[in-house]
Each structure stands twice: as structure tokens, then as C-alpha cells.
């Protein structure tokens, strides 16, 4: 029971208080709760609920500053990341340009292309916030590396899918067992292309959510979890950008020249390198 009380207090303290203060308070309460050991009922009577304990220590100004940072960082990954969802379609248009938008251009086209801008803002704010936090002393949590490997595997898969399709869309569709039927004004897409689009869409959403979880863990567990947020941003952005490109095309075979996809691939690789560099910096 004592462990439950301390676990709740630790979680609450790490969220509400600055890192150093949270560590001090947790150390003090381990002492208070453990000497002599008391059952949870007594702890609640003598100390109050963990949230009440922490709220007495929280400084509103300091907490509001963190909340502002958290809101900005969450918005930067969740707004573009969740934009393909049906109810948020109007956001998708603003973030990555709509499928019927004649002004579509990448990136920063005139039609409104705020997804990369938000991602860049998120990366900069996350890096600044991360560098201002106290340096972590302990060993790097293995779970961070597992999450980074997962994100990197997704980026690799997304790039491979895009490359395979872009190089030879007809063969790609054949490989999936059918000929493309999406050429023409009705914008019908083959099952293989539809699968590719859905994979990018749901994969991108999942990457955004993983990135967000990295941000929460960076506050409540270890500052180095920011690396997961940063690579999550990159993975989300690559998914959404390639998705936007694919759904924006009407007749690629007849109008596009060989190698049309090279600048796009270079752009995605640049995002990957930037994401890896950001993750590397925040792991130090």
C-alpha cells in the first residue's frame, strides 16, 4: 500500500513540479512515508492525498510555464498528426494541402502547408526545453532505444513503400495483385494504392501518438525521452507528406517525368536526418 501511495505521489510530483524540486520532494517523502512505515489509510489522514500534497508545493507560475510548453509541443505533433482523421479534414487541408488543391506544392506552397512549419517549431521548442532541463545522471533507459528503433523502422518502411511505388507505380500495383484503376478524373484508386494510403495515414497517426507519449515521459521519467518526441515528429511528417503527395496526384503516369520523385525523396531523407540529429542531441 505504501508503494502505491509513493508511486502516485512520485507521478504527480514529476508532472507538477520542476525536475530538481520533484526529486527533492520525492526523496523527502520517501523518508516521511517510510519512517516508521505507515499503512495507506494513515498516510492519507496524516499527509493527505498525493495530489493535495503536491498542490501545496506547486508554484502556479512555474507550472503554467511548463503547461504552455507542453501545449505548444503537443499541438505541434498532434495537429498535423491527427489531421487525416475524418473530423479534422479541414486541418489536413491547412497542414498538408488538400487533395483537390490546385496550388499544391511542397513544402511551404501557397495553399497553406503548415504541417512542416509546426513540426519545425515543435523540434526547436523541444530541443530548447530539453537543454534547459537538468542533465540526467543515470544510465539511458533501454525503452527509449526500443522506441527509437520502432520509429526508425517505420520511417524506413514508409520510405521504402514510397520509393517502390514512385519508381514504378504500375509494377507496384501488379505486385499487389491488380492493375491500377485510379488513373482518370474519377480518382478511383486500386486496392494496393488504397492500402498504401491507409498504411501511411494510420502509421503517421500512430507515430504522432508515440511522439506525444515520449513528451509525457520526458517530463515524468527522464528528460532523454525527448528523443522519442523528436523522431516521432520526423516519422509523422514523412508519413503525412508522402500521403499528401500521393492523394494530390491525379494522372502521374501521363504527366510526370522520370525521376519526378527525387526531390520528394531528398526532402524525406532530410527530415529523417534532422530527426536523427535531434534525437542524438537530446540523448546526450
Amino acid at each position: 500500500m505504501k508503494k502505491d501511495y509513493m508511486a502516485r505521489l512520485e507521478r504527480t510530483a514529476r508532472w507538477w513540479l520542476p525536475r530538481q524540486e520533484a526529486q527533492d520532494v520525492i526523496a523527502d517523502y520517501r523518508d516521511i512515508v517510510g519512517s516508521p512505515p505507515r499503512p495507506e489509510r494513515e498516510l492519507l489522514r496524516d499527509l493527505g492525498k498525493p495530489r493535495e500534497v503536491v498542490m501545496q508545493l506547486a508554484q502556479p507560475k512555474v507550472y503554467l510555464r511548463w503547461l504552455a510548453v507542453f501545449t505548444v509541443l503537443s499541438a505541434c505533433i498532434l495537429i498535423p498528426g491527427l489531421s487525416p482523421f475524418g473530423p479534422f479534414w479541414f486541418i489536413w487541408d491547412k497542414c498538408f494541402a488538400g487533395p483537390y488543391d490546385p496550388n499544391f506544392a511542397f513544402p511551404g506552397g501557397p495553399a497553406g502547408h503548415y504541417g512542416p512549419v509546426l513540426a519545425l517549431l515543435g523540434a526547436i521548442v523541444a530541443l530548447i526545453w530539453s537543454r534547459r532541463q537538468q542533465r540526467e545522471e543515470g544510465p539511458r533507459p533501454k525503452a527509449i532505444l526500443v522506441f527509437l528503433a520502432l520509429l526508425l523502422a517505420w520511417i524506413g518502411a514508409a520510405l521504402l513503400l514510397f520509393w517502390t511505388w514512385a519508381r514504378d507505380p504500375v509494377t507496384f500495383s501488379k505486385v499487389w495483385g491488380e492493375m491500377p484503376s485510379w488513373i482518370g478524373p474519377d480518382r478511383m484508386v486500386s486496392r494496393s494504392v488504397q492500402t498504401l494510403l491507409s498504411t501511411l495515414e494510420y502509421g503517421g497517426i500512430a507515430m504522432a501518438l508515440i511522439g506525444e507519449s515520449g513528451l509525457v515521459r520526458a517530463r515524468t521519467k527522464d528528460r532523454r525521452w525527448v528523443a522519442v518526441y523528436l523522431l516521432g515528429l520526423a516519422a509523422m511528417l514523412i508519413s503525412m507528406e508522402s500521403l499528401a503527395l500521393l492523394v494530390s496526384m491525379q494522372t502521374p503516369e501521363s504527366t510526370l517525368q522520370a525521376g519526378w520523385w527525387h526531390p520528394h525523396m531528398q526532402y524525406y531523407l532530410a527530415i529523417t536526418v534532422a530527426g536523427l540529429a535531434g534525437a542524438g542531441v537530446s540523448l546526450c
Binding site: 526523496a27 523527502d28 523518508d31 516521511i32 496524516d46 499527509l47 493527505g48 501545496q56
Partner: protein, 101 residues
């Protein structure tokens, strides 16, 4: 003078008598003010540290890990004097009204 000020006065008074082990300080104050939770006393103690009225340091313990002790600072002595003066004024004012006689 609020109850918060009274508890701060007591904390500063105890620290003026010598450095104190944090947990012991909480227990003593909780014993004096049983309807006040230890967490409230702890929050006030940390508040005094934040204001610079007290300082904490790790002191050696013979039978276990190092313990956190608190000591009074010069600023803390000033605050103690100010709160004591407030308390005396309040006590005199109440006596004039015949309260507590």
C-alpha cells in the same frame, strides 16, 4: 496573523535552537498542531527554504543513509523577529479585550 504564520513562527523558533532533522521537525509540529497535516508543515518548511529563511544540507547519520537537516539563515532570523513581534502585538491586543484571561 494566520495559522500559516504561526506554524512558520514555530518552525523558525525550533531552527533557532539548533539545526534540525527535517522529519523530526515535521513530527514535532504535527504533534503541536494535530489538526494540521504533516504535508502542510512540509510545504511551509520548503517555502521558508525557497524564501532563503532556511537552508538544507545532508548530515551524516550513524545508523543509516545521510539525513536532510535544516538550518536557520540570517534572513530567517529577521523573519523570526518580525513574526515574534507580530505575535506579541496580537497577544497584547487580545489581552486588552480580555480574551484568554
Amino acid at each position: 496573523m494566520l495559522k500559516k504564520d504561526l506554524i512558520e513562527l514555530c518552525l523558525l523558533h525550533l531552527l533557532a535552537q539548533g539545526d534540525q532533522y527535517g522529519y523530526e521537525l515535521l513530527r514535532r509540529l504535527h504533534h503541536t498542531f494535530p489538526d494540521t497535516q504533516e504535508s502542510t508543515v512540509y510545504a511551509l518548511l520548503r517555502g521558508l527554504c525557497r524564501e532563503g529563511c532556511s537552508q538544507q544540507y545532508l548530515g551524516a547519520a550513524s545508523d543509516g543513509p545521510a539525513r536532510k537537516y535544516y538550518r536557520l539563515t540570517a534572513q530567517g532570523r529577521d523573519k523570526l523577529a518580525a513574526l515574534t513581534e507580530q505575535w506579541r502585538s496580537l497577544r497584547d491586543a487580545l489581552s486588552e479585550l480580555g480574551i484568554g484571561e
